[in-house]
């Protein structure tokens, strides 16, 4: 890192606006970082989970007799061993800890085995005999609401209507489309894992890779029938999350086994089980109609969207609200009609994933904007700029955007970047790579643009806060600080950000980040691009309390200054259930991409040559981490554009492995040119704007637009597969 003169002369280095080295970086690169899967405890046993092979079936019997007789087995548990509430869920408590008399998706947990070796546990698991009456699964999201009810209230989880302006206005130019988004997986590299350690008083400690310690705790405690204080959670090493750890996986299971056997219990999913063990991104079908005048000004947008929540609700209601409220994109539209439906099916459960509803809508509305540009004979950038939202624009919800919304500027920034050189002759830079499928034959270049919008932090009136404790004392003659929260570091760099904030606020260089656990109050979820905003805000607020007590002193002797505070962002409102009107969101984030692709049009193979991005982050507290988020989000969007999909057939997952669920490699993801704008949001701590999600939204449609430009094909579904490009 190069220090600027200002930093060199300031009292403390490593404050906000710099990019100090993160403590986990070298360890992770060298393979030395301790992940949750590395947890170990003397005398621990191993848990395994028996899962349903059927997407939908009635359970007629469960016989555990033989499994219990396997030497080395300590326990075999079923739903009748769940002492508390056998239902959990982020928004609706609809998901059994262990299935009772019905299974609603392939992979649903039915029984648990605890044994002295993971292999023994798996072997015993195979001796559990389950009788099934296989039922016809509900798999079509568009008709699910009228199909066999899978839950007592029917299959409609949530319908969010948006009604703004005229509902029957006409326009000179109209384009319509139907779009599909496949089921993307978070594909985090560290599989679900945790260690539950029982205590003598009937309480339990759970060391766990998760995104949200307190909501895990409340769900675990309810299932165990314990008061919350008897369930203590400590964050273990997390190998990526992206939304996939917001729901429970084995948290209750490990604790059940531990309390039942009196032994520490470790559970680690393997890669295949991981595909069944967490929620995915909602697949979607989206119908759009855009009307514009001849100058390209949007007159109206009408949309009908279906989001497949799979067997259990998870965060479907909030995902549907995002898709609806952000459904026209970062554009000014006076007349909006949106109906977004989230449904139950017997497909794998879907919930949070980076972009959270905004990704699905983003692919559709940006595809529509390109279609509109073509119908008008305008350039894709011009039609977007013509309608671009600015500060003061009104959302389809009626909410006024009250901080920077530099949509046109972002588009122009990526448009003005130099284009890459012509098609390479290096195999590694051609479609197909070293697989040697082309030396230039059939390769056509295309360029595409997209811009997206994402809400930052939790919405719709949710009490979204975080708790931080900052403690200052003398260490070796100097002031030292310790910061404690329950906000999860999942790889995004929160540990470093918190240190930077304390350094800046208190002028103390030595800052220790204490383990994240439930001995302190709720830190909220590591999702919705919110931790730097909310937990960062809480740390800043705690520092202010400490600073008052320090009163400028650099030596406090034996005194310990210890302050804990809760901090919440300004309140949001529920939206009207009939019209979708209301100040639903705290803050909006924007990013734009220009993608350049080379397509081998004969083989249908794609190489993304350039994927340049401009994003407003309000204030870059850690510029290197910001750029890392933009690169990662863009890569995840690239994956959805051209390769990532959990393929299902009749509710069954066909590719639960990294052999067949492909994520981009370094040869698929080009180096990026990134412009980071810092247009401070006056409502946010330091003016920051959440960073993690916006780039995931615009990356996908920009790449698909570029492929369309190269091929002339309509391409209404992501991921784009070779068959779509060769039309075979």
């Amino acid at each position: 890192m190069t220090l600027t003169p200002a930093e060199l002369t300031s009292a403390v280095s490593g404050g906000i606006g710099t990019s100090p080295q993160r403590p986990d970086g070298n360890l992770k690169v060298r393979g030395e970082f301790a992940y949750a899967s590395d947890l170990w405890h003397e005398d621990m046993i191993w848990g395994a989970t028996l899962r349903s092979p059927h997407p939908y079936a009635r359970i007629t019997s469960v016989d555990i007799t033989e499994a219990l007789q396997v030497p080395g087995v300590y326990a075999v548990l079923t739903h009748s061993d769940v002492p508390g509430r056998n239902l959990y869920g982020l928004e609706h408590k609809d998901q059994p800890v262990l299935a009772v008399d019905v299974v609603r998706y392939q992979g649903e947990p039915i029984a648990l085995v605890g044994a002295d070796h993971p292999e023994t546990a798996r072997r015993a698991m195979k001796k559990i005999v389950v009788g099934y009456e296989v039922l016809e699964p509900v798999v079509d999201m568009e008709t699910a609401a009228d199909d066999t009810p899978l839950h007592p209230g029917g299959n409609l989880v949530r319908h969010v209507p948006i009604r703004r302006g005229s509902q029957d206005v006409a326009a000179e130019v109209v384009v319509t489309g139907r779009y599909e988004v496949g089921m993307q997986d978070q594909a985090f590299l560290g599989p679900e894992s945790g260690l539950a350690v029982p205590a003598d008083d009937g309480s339990v400690d759970l060391y766990i890779a998760t995104q949200w310690l307190h909501v895990d705790r409340s769900q675990v405690a309810a299932a165990l029938g314990l008061p919350e204080e008897k369930v203590r959670l400590t964050l273990s090493g997390v190998g990526g999350a992206f939304g996939g750890r917001e729901d429970l996986s084995m948290q209750v299971h490990a604790c059940l086994l531990a309390l039942h056997t009196g032994k520490p219990v470790k559970m680690v999913y393997n890669r295949e089980e991981s595909f069944y063990g967490h929620v995915h991104r909602h697949p979607a079908v989206l119908y759009y109609e855009h009307g514009a005048d001849r100058t390209g000004k949007l007159v109206y947008v009408r949309a009908r969207m279906y989001l497949d929540g799979g067997a259990y609700a998870s965060s479907t209601p909030a995902v549907v609200a995002n898709a609806a409220t952000l459904g026209v994109g970062p554009y000014e539209v006076d007349n909006v009609t949106v109906d977004a439906y989230g449904v139950y099916t017997n497909n794998p459960p879907c919930g949070a994933m980076r972009g959270f509803g905004a990704v699905q809508a983003g692919f559709a509305y940006e595809s529509q904007m390109d279609k509109l540009a073509e119908a008008l004979g305008m350039s894709p950038v011009d039609v977007r700029v013509r309608n671009a939202m600015t500060e003061g624009s009104v959302m389809p919800t009626g909410q006024v955007v009250d901080s920077a919304a530099p949509v046109a500027q972002l588009l122009k920034l990526v448009q003005d970047k130099p284009l890459p050189a012509g098609t390479s002759s290096d195999l590694r830079e051609l479609p197909g790579g070293v697989s040697n499928t082309t030396h230039g034959e059939g390769v056509v270049r295309g360029v595409g643009y997209a811009v997206g919008i994402k809400n930052i932090c939790f919405s719709e009136g949710y009490d979204d806060y975080s708790t931080a404790r900052v403690r200052v004392s003398m260490v070796n003659g100097s002031l030292a600080a310790a910061v404690h929260t329950a906000a999860c570091e999942v790889g995004q760099g929160l540990v470093t950000i918190m240190q930077q904030i304390v350094r800046t606020e208190l002028g103390i260089e030595l800052v220790t980040v204490l383990p994240m656990d439930t001995t302190i109050g709720n830190g909220g979820s590591t999702s919705a691009s919110r931790q730097t905003y909310v937990t960062g805000g809480a740390v800043k607020a705690a520092c202010a309390l400490v600073r008052d007590r320090l009163a400028g002193r650099t030596d406090i002797g034996d005194e310990v200054i210890d302050e804990t505070t809760e901090w919440r962002h300004r309140a949001t409102e529920a939206i009207d259930p009939e019209t979708g009107q209301g100040n639903a969101h705290v803050q909006y984030g924007f990013a734009a991409h220009r993608a350049v692709v080379d397509v081998d049009v004969e083989l249908g193979l794609v190489r993304v040559v350039a994927l340049d991005c401009a994003q407003d982050v309000g204030r870059a507290l850690n510029p290197q981490a910001v750029v890392g988020q933009i690169q990662g989000g863009s890569a995840q969007g690239l994956g959805l554009a051209v390769m990532e999909e959990i393929q299902t057939s009749g509710g069954k997952v066909r590719n639960p492995s990294f052999t067949d669920y492909l994520i981009p490699t370094v040869l698929d993801m080009p180096p990026m040119s990134i412009d980071v704008l810092e247009l401070a949001d006056p409502h946010a701590p330091y003016g920051i704007r959440g960073v993690g999600e916006p780039p995931t939204i615009s990356s996908t449609p920009a790449i698909v637009a570029a492929i369309r430009a190269a091929t002339g094909l309509a391409l209404t579904r992501v991921p784009v597969r070779p068959e779509h490009l060769t039309v075979t």
Binding site: G433, S435, N436, T437, E602, L603, V642, P722, E723, T728
Partner: protein
């Protein structure tokens, strides 16, 4: 599970004879995945990494079954360009450091990357047991999906593959630009001295297989002695015949129709590249003889 660790080939063959259930393991890039996922649990593993005979290659060429892909790329790329091209598409650098052609043959997956090259280049597989060695032409080695011609007491010892007599090419379609399993693949080897071409498809039938009609078509159509630029019609017909040699299925990696289409494209292109190389070699050779 027993872990058997022979030090010599003779010892390995003895062990395999006494324990036909023992699964041979060298790089472990396939076997360990299967074990970890509990897809199979053999009574014994036969570790071949200490057997020096299997890790050597000799001019001629006889390549020990446990020579890793990385060495084939680095040391045999000139003599066996087709095999090196295929080896370069296998997995990641780490996998290429461990994985072996012997393992590819042992697994006999229709998607194995080296199979089309071995078929197109007239490879012969040397297998052995305590009963003695046996030479199996590659064309007779692949019997079905993940089934090969090995007897339970036999081990794959080496692959016999003559240094390339002419240009060779290999191409593989995957839906990612690196580290990807084949949707389908194709290999071509030119034998100018014999006026013929070897051609084979991978991941497009229950076994990797030769495209006999396509080979016969080129043998009749091409003039190796005085090569002229290829007609597009010849390339197209060759592509069609290669495609017809396959009997692919629809699966999670691609559709049958796409595989047939892609094979035709790869066959056309690789023939073009190989033929172009032949032409430029002839031209260079001509210049040299003039000088």
């Amino acid at each position: 599970m027993d872990f058997l660790r022979p030090e010599t080939l003779a010892e390995a063959l003895e062990l395999k004879a006494s324990r036909p259930d023992a699964v041979p393991i060298a790089g472990g890039t396939d076997v360990m995945v299967e074990l970890n996922f509990d897809h199979r649990r053999p009574g014994a593993l036969l570790d071949l990494t200490r057997v020096p005979e299997l890790r050597q290659w000799s001019d001629g060429l006889r390549i020990g079954a446990a020579v890793p892909y990385a060495r084939i790329i680095d040391e045999l790329g000139t003599a066996l360009p087709g095999l090196a091209m295929a080896a370069r598409t296998v997995g990641s650098p780490q996998i290429r450091n461990r994985g072996t052609v012997g393992g590819n043959l042992g697994a006999a997956s229709p998607a194995g990357d080296t199979h089309p090259v071995l078929l197109a280049s007239d490879a012969v597989i040397e297998v052995a047991s305590t009963r003695g060695p046996r030479m199996i032409p590659a064309t007779e080695f692949y019997l079905g999906v993940k089934r090969n011609a090995l007897e339970p007491d036999e081990l794959i010892v080496a692959v016999h593959l003559a240094p390339a007599a002419g240009p060779q090419q290999f191409a593989k379609v995957g839906t990612r630009n690196a580290m990807v399993i084949a949707v389908c693949s194709f290999a071509i080897s030119l034998f100018p001295g014999e006026n013929r071409v070897g051609a084979a498809v991978g991941s497009a039938a229950p076994t990797p297989r030769r495209a006999h009609e396509a080979e016969a078509f080129l043998a009749a159509e091409l003039d190796f002695a005085t090569p002229k630029p290829l007609l597009d019609s010849v390339k197209r017909e060759f592509g069609e015949l290669v495609s017809r040699a396959a009997s692919p299925i629809d699966d999670v990696r691609g559709s049958a129709a796409y595989r047939e289409h892609a094979l035709a494209v790869m066959a056309r292109r690789t023939l073009g590249w190989a033929w172009q190389e032949l032409l430029s070699r002839k031209n260079r050779g001509g210049e040299q003889s003039c000088a």
